[in-house]
Amino acid sequence: MTPALTGADIRGRHLRRRQARDRLMRALLWCSALAAVTPLLLLLMFVVREGLPAFRPSLFTEVPRPLGESGGGVKPAVVGSLIMVGLGTFIGVPIAILAGVYAREYAGSRLATVIRFLIDVLAGVPSITIGLFVYGLLVAPMHTFSGLAGAVALAILIVPTVARVTDEMLALVPRSVREAAYALGVPRWKTIARVVLPSAKVGIATGVVLGVARIAGETAPLLFTALGNRTVSTSLVRPMDALPLRIYVYATGPYRSWHQQAWAASLLLVLLVLGFSLITRLLLRRRAPGPD
């Protein structure tokens, strides 16, 4: 006969096994988390190390010098990026939020299903294809590359990101909140505009930040829409420069000073996106009522 096991023995063995498994899983999770953020940290370190030497005020204030001359800056690209990303966001975000609202709040109607499907398709369209589309839509008829064409390409690119996030964030607003508004005799459209959307605003704003970060770094759709420009241009109907375009040109060029400026411009791009994200978060945190 085997010796009788007491309950404590069984629980003891079980406990040790469970604790060992817990430690193993914790270690695995920790390693995975580390593996996920390591490339980001390395990238940031590398961009800072390579970009810092050329990261001088002249980077913002000067235009590119003629070939062979050293010095100069990427002012046209900074200005162009701000204009095109700003305008693209301004055009794309309202459309995206309205599309996301429709897809979620009117879910069940056939049109809402179609819209959600199209948003997903649009998210999968390669960005260079969107550049080509805008080339055909604006550049060819206007007979010129333009900042407007670049902004429209970016606007199309930001739509699926923001629409999807809006859809998902609205799904998180509990039904009880909507019903509370209905029970007060608030019409549906007003419930959506004044109660549901504000409840989801932090999430939607995060989606906008993600979208802006994405379009700020897009190069391909600008190649044959905005084209690039070595002088500062604020005209929407003339070619316009952008940071990713300038980085692309400089990084693939043969000169040492170009490479340095490409790194510095990369650092600038990262900082711009990071700064925008931080500012948005701070603004939202201050305005949302919290427990106090």
Binding site: S176, E179, P187, P289
Partner: protein, 292 residues
């Protein structure tokens, strides 16, 4: 109220039964009635979720300036029933209603009746406190007015204070009106929801198990509040707590779902009689705790 409301054919008698104001009590002794108190006549009400019936052929009259309790075991259609009284049932996808609900004689399911208008007259407090998460205590209390476009600050302040006082919450929140509604305790949140519901001066207030998620002290407060509010409003409360029904209500309706899980009205009458001398053996079994 001289007549037994459980008498059949309540709807056809509606003209014969005087409204409370100025008749039953006399002009001088009339309780603080906010407006002509309103009665509800429910006639042959059927409710469905898609093809599945949830309520069958419910007819009863809710008397003005009284508290009417709807009791019954889980799944008997209590909540479905009161959600039919402010046209909130139909908000659930696929849900529909047959039959008539007369609000002072006008069918709220009549052709051309706007559910938004019905809900302005018939307010609701939900099972779980659901203050608007993005709004302060003050804004929650006057949410109905603000969302209806009222911006007069003086008026809003006045209504907020009056509603919070009537909901017995004013003293606890008067110093932190601009804190988030969600920062209050559960019982306070529920009284905030009551303040929000009565701030728009509805005629009928529906309460769907308003105390079921609260502790005993908060429950007691809510129950006292119901008696107080019945002097101004017509109140319908759903409860699974028979003691609560016995404590607060003037009339009690007992719903029960049979084998096929469709709720039916078993018995309706003055609370005292229902609890002391039920006519239906199933009512007696339920109130003596033999099932449910």
């Amino acid at each position: 109220m001289a007549q037994d409301p459980s008498a059949p054919a309540a709807v056809t008698e509606q003209q014969a039964i005087p409204l409370v104001r100025g008749v039953a009590f006399g002009e001088q002794e009339a309780p603080r009635v906010s407006q002509a108190a309103t009665r509800l006549d429910v006639a042959n009400l059927h409710a469905y979720y898609g093809a599945r019936p949830a309520l069958r052929d419910v007819s009863l009259t809710v008397w003005p300036n009284s508290v009417t309790a709807i009791i019954g075991p889980s799944g008997c259609g209590k909540s479905t029933f009161i959600r039919c009284l402010n046209r909130l049932h139909e908000v659930t996808p696929g849900a529909r209603v047959e039959g008539r609900v007369l609000l002072d004689g006008d069918d709220i399911y009549g052709a051309g009746v706007d559910p938004v208008v019905v809900r302005q007259r018939v307010g609701m407090v939900f099972q779980r406190p659901n203050p608007f998460p993005t709004m302060s205590i003050f804004d929650n209390a006057v949410a109905g007015l603000k969302l209806a476009g009222i911006r007069n600050r003086e008026l809003l302040r006045e209504v907020a204070e009056r509603s919070l006082r009537r909901a017995a919450l004013w003293d606890e929140v008067k110093d932190k009106l601009h804190a988030a509604g969600g920062a209050l305790s559960g019982g306070q949140q529920q009284r905030l929801c009551i303040a929000r519901a009565i701030a728009v001066e509805p005629e009928v207030v529906l309460m769907d198990e308003p105390a079921s998620s609260l502790d005993p002290m908060s429950t007691l407060k809510i129950e006292e509040l119901m008696r107080e509010l019945a002097t101004s409003f017509t109140i319908v409360i759903v409860t699974h707590n028979m003691q609560q029904a016995a404590r607060v209500s003037d009339y009690t309706a007992f719903l029960l779902a049979g084998e096929e899980r469709v709720g039916e009205l078993i018995e309706y009458g003055p609370t005292a009689r229902i609890f002391t001398n039920p006519r239906d053996p199933r009512t007696e079994q339920y109130i003596t705790g033999r099932f449910g």
